[in-house]
Amino acid sequence: MLAVQQLEAGYGESVILRGVTLQVRPGQVVCLLGRNGVGKTTLMKSIMGVLKARKGTVSYKGDDLTRRAPGQRAKKGIGYVPQGREVFAQLTVFENVLLGLEASGSKTRVIPDAAIAKFPVLPAMYDRRGGDLSGGQQQQLAFARALASEPDLLLLDEPCEGIQPSIVDDIRDVIRAIKADGKTSILLAEQSLEFVKSVGDYFYILEKGAVAWEGGLADLNDEVIRQYLTV
C-alpha cells in the first residue's frame, strides 16, 4: 500500500534520512521506533510531502507520490497527525474538524460519525477555540481532524507525547478500533515501547537515518531492544 524506497531527505545542508526503505500493507499497524534524532519525524514529514525527498521514492497504492504536494497526498487518502498536534489555534474545534474534510473531496461537508464517535469529549467543545484546549484534548482534535477525511493510511507522529495516561489509554483504544475495522492502515512513530507493543503488527527501528532492524512482534525481543533502543 505505502512503499518507501531508499528515501533520502534532510533540512538544508544536513542529511537526516540516508536511504530508508519500508512498507505498510493494508490494515496493518506499522510502528517506527528509534532513539531521539534518528529521523522518525523527518520520515513522517517526507511521506506526507512537507519535506521534499532528495532521492528515493514514496509510492502509495501504486502511484508515485515523490514529487507531489502534501495536499495531493492528502487527497489520495493519507491522513496526518503531526508531532505537536498543529491544531488551528484561532479556529473553533468544529472548524478544525471541518477542515479535515477538505481532503475527502465530498461536497456534503458532513463530518463522518466514525471520526467523531471515538472522541465523545469533542462535540461538547465545538465552539471553543482550538488553542484553548489542553494538550490531550488537542491531540484528540488532531485525530478527529485526520479521521474526518476517512483516510486509508494514517500517519501518527508521537501521538502520546506529553499526554496524560488516561488519554494515552483512549488513544490506544482508538488505534485498536481503527485496526479492528481493518479499513485504515497506520504508520505510528512512537517512543513508548510498551505502547507500540500493545498495538503494532510490524516494527521498524531507525538508526542514523536508516532502517537498522525490522520484524514482527515476536521478534522484538530484549536483545533487539537493548541494541537499538536502550539509551
Partner: protein, 301 residues
C-alpha cells in the same frame, strides 16, 4: 448640543472613510503579513474605474440613467482592483512571502509604475467624478444637515464589513483562508491548496481597496497620486487596531477618526493631527500589538 452631534457625525464620517481604505489592507497586511505599498494605487485604480464607468454612462446611456452609474461602479471597481491584485500576487508577491523588506520595496516600485500608468492614460491633472444626483443634498435633523454622500459612505462601510465578516468567519473559503494564514504547512497537509488561497485572499483585499477608491470619488477629485495620501492612514489604522483581526481594524478607524475630529475642534487642523499622532505613538508604546491582540495558549510562536 448641536455642535456635539455635528462633531460626532464628522468623526464617524472620517472613521468610515479610514475604515474603508484600511479594510483591504487589514486582509493583505493584517492576515497575510504582506507590506503592500501599492495598496494606495489599488485605491487609485478603483477611483479611476469609477471615473471610466461614469464616462461610459455619460456617452452611451440615456441621461435619465446617469444617476445609476455609481451603483454599477462599485462592483466594477471591486472587479478591476481584484484582477490587478490577482496579477500582482501571481507575478510578484508570491515570490516575496516572508520577506517584508523586499516586498515593501518591490510593491512601492509597483505603486510608482501604476501611478505613471494612470498619468499616461488619464493625464496628470486631477479629474472630477460627478456624484449621482440622488446623493446630493442631505438629511436635516434639527439644525444639522447630514450630507447623503457621507451617510452613503458610512452605509457602504457597514455593508463591506458585514460581507467581509460573513466571508472570513462563516464561509468555507473563509475558513480555508484563516487556516492557511495560521498554519500554512498543516493546512497544506489537510489538502487545502495554499497557492489558490493566497492568490484569492490577496485579490479580495485588493478588490476592497478598489471599492474604497470608488467611494473616494464622492469626496473630491481624483488624481494619479491619490493613493499616497491614504496609504499611511491605512497602515496606521491596521497597526493601531491590532494586526489580524477585523474588529481591531474597526476600533482603529473609530479611534483615529473620532480623536482626529475632536482634537481638530478643540485646537486647529494641523495641531489636531499632531495630537492624534502623539496619542497613537503613546498608545503603541503601551500596547505594541494594538487594540485587539490575538491571545491563545498555543500561539507562542
Amino acid at each position: 448640543m448641536d455642535v456635539i452631534i455635528l462633531q460626532l457625525f464628522n468623526g464617524f464620517s472620517i472613521s468610515s472613510i479610514l475604515l474603508l481604505i484600511a479594510l483591504g489592507l487589514s486582509i493583505t497586511f493584517g492576515l497575510m503579513k504582506v507590506i503592500n505599498m501599492a495598496h494606495g494605487e489599488l485605491i487609485m485604480i478603483g477611483a479611476y474605474t469609477a471615473y471610466v464607468v461614469q464616462n461610459l454612462f455619460a456617452d452611451y446611456m440615456p441621461a435619465s440613467m446617469f444617476g445609476w452609474y455609481f451603483a454599477l461602479a462599485i462592483p466594477v471597481s471591486f472587479a478591476v482592483a481584484f484582477v490587478f491584485g490577482l496579477v500582482l500576487e501571481m507575478g510578484l508577491i508570491r515570490f516575496l512571502y516572508g520577506r517584508p523588506l523586499d516586498s515593501l520595496l518591490a510593491t512601492w516600485g509597483v505603486g510608482l509604475m501604476l501611478q505613471q500608468l494612470a498619468r499616461s492614460i488619464f493625464g496628470a491633472p486631477n479629474v472630477g467624478v460627478k456624484s449621482p444626483a440622488w446623493l446630493d443634498g442631505g438629511m436635516t435633523v434639527g439644525d444639522n444637515v447630514f450630507p447623503y454622500k457621507r451617510l452613503f459612505i458610512i452605509g457602504l462601510v457597514l455593508v463591506c464589513l458585514l460581507v467581509m465578516y460573513l466571508y472570513i468567519y462563516r464561509s468555507h473559503p473563509g475558513r480555508r483562508m484563516r487556516a492557511v494564514m495560521q498554519n500554512r504547512e498543516m493546512a497544506a497537509c489537510l489538502g487545502i491548496s495554499t497557492r489558490r488561497v493566497d492568490a484569492t485572499t490577496f485579490a479580495i483585499g485588493s478588490g476592497i481597496a478598489g471599492i474604497a477608491g470608488c467611494a473616494l470619488t464622492l469626496i473630491g477629485p481624483i488624481g494619479p497620486t491619490i493613493g499616497t495620501y491614504y496609504i499611511v492612514d491605512a497602515f496606521m489604522v491596521v497597526v493601531l487596531g491590532g494586526v489580524g483581526k477585523l474588529v481591531g481594524t474597526v476600533f482603529g478607524a473609530l479611534g483615529i477618526g473620532l480623536s482626529n475630529t475632536l482634537f481638530e475642534y478643540w485646537t486647529t487642523a494641523s495641531l489636531g493631527k499632531v495630537l492624534v499622532f502623539l496619542c497613537i505613538v503613546a498608545f503603541l508604546q503601551w500596547k505594541p500589538s494594538g487594540f485587539v491582540a490575538m491571545r491563545s495558549r498555543s500561539l507562542d510562536n
